[in-house]
Symmetry: C2
Subunit: 216 residues, 2 copies
């Protein structure tokens, strides 16, 4: 955190008298430990071994300048050499294209579409999650229904996107960790989901997020 | 419409006695003329010259079986050899990958991200659009504010995604046509947007949608 990485060298044309100049292009993440959308981006950056500078935003008391980075004022926002990109789903796709290795989307177009469909429909899970946090009546039951759907999907396939771990898993696990560890939602009724979460936590990128959640 | 296309030949292994069999893989779109989300998919299919079978769904009185195609009951749904894909934003990406030519996303990752950001945030425009349709107070003003943002973006760049026409333009134009031609929203205050719409309507894939809207 707070450190700067050489992302890729940009060589500007030199002259006889001045040798080529190598610039350091800096990747910055406007971040919040408690924000599960930020967690998606942290996981993808960690999986790909991309170093970056993280600037922690207090989402309970957002600084005015964050609206200059993102008109909605929300995090995460990725900044790269002055270029700004908000929205975790869009940032994940961008990082996948900019840093293709290790791949977090399958090569097959149909599997890629399945992963994107999970990401697109994440609100099926997150709506009852936030309703539960607000203490809405019936939210626990609605959340359980969605957890049962995830469980059924993970009984049929090892990972949300299909045969391999990838963006869809990274896109969901931040809410699973928070509902298990902060909201006390019992996951035992969903054994395939528990098994998936265990396999995810074997990955250092995801295990680091469990540490973040424990410190919240 | 209603016709079947050879998508790509699938050759099944034959024997000495039986030569290889070539199957026809059929692409089906569960479609609705009035649905702007379906229009996105129709435009992309037309741009790429992909033939398909369209099955019109009465969205005012959905058949029970559409819920077997998509648990939400919504269109569009793409079906390919029994495989089902809902959600227009996901379908557009799938078609872009399956039929790369002509490209509707730029080669550059940052431009691709910009196009995806527009698509991801389409509800900034569609929320006030549907509020206006429902006759909500103040909806027209909120819609005008979003149209002004589109106009400013199109003053800075010829197309929503940047230098070239693509998925972001296809993703927005269905609502623009409907608000202009069905809701009577004046677009004259937004000259860059009007110019963009004119350039879009020069494209046969988009012009065909204006005909669909005129017949609604």
């Amino acid at each position: 955190m707070g450190t700067v990485l050489v992302m890729w060298p940009v060589v500007l044309p030199g002259t006889m008298a001045t040798p080529p100049v190598t610039l350091r292009i800096v990747l910055t993440l406007y971040d919040a430990a408690r924000c599960p959308y930020c967690a998606r981006v942290r996981i993808v950056l960690a999986e790909k071994g991309v170093e970056y500078e993280a600037i922690e935003i207090d989402v309970s008391d957002r600084p005015a300048w964050i609206y200059e980075k993102n008109t909605t004022g929300r995090v995460p926002v990725l900044e790269e050499d002055g270029w700004l990109l908000p929205e975790s789903a869009v940032i994940m796709e961008y990082l996948e294209e900019r840093y293709p290795e290790p791949a977090l989307l399958a090569a097959d177009a149909a599997e890629r579409a399945l992963a994107r469909l999970w990401i697109f429909r994440h609100d099926h899970l997150t709506k009852p999650y936030y309703a539960l946090r607000r203490g809405e009546e019936g939210a626990g039951d609605r959340l359980d229904q969605e957890l049962a759907k995830l469980d059924a999907a993970l009984e049929a396939r090892p990972w949300l996107g299909g045969a391999a771990y990838g963006l869809a898993d990274a896109a969901y696990v931040p809410w699973l960790l928070r509902m298990r560890d902060m909201l006390g939602v019992p996951l035992d009724p969903f054994p395939a989901l528990v098994d998936w979460l265990d396999r995810l936590l074997d990955r250092p990128a995801v295990a680091a997020e469990a540490v973040v959640v424990a410190a919240l």
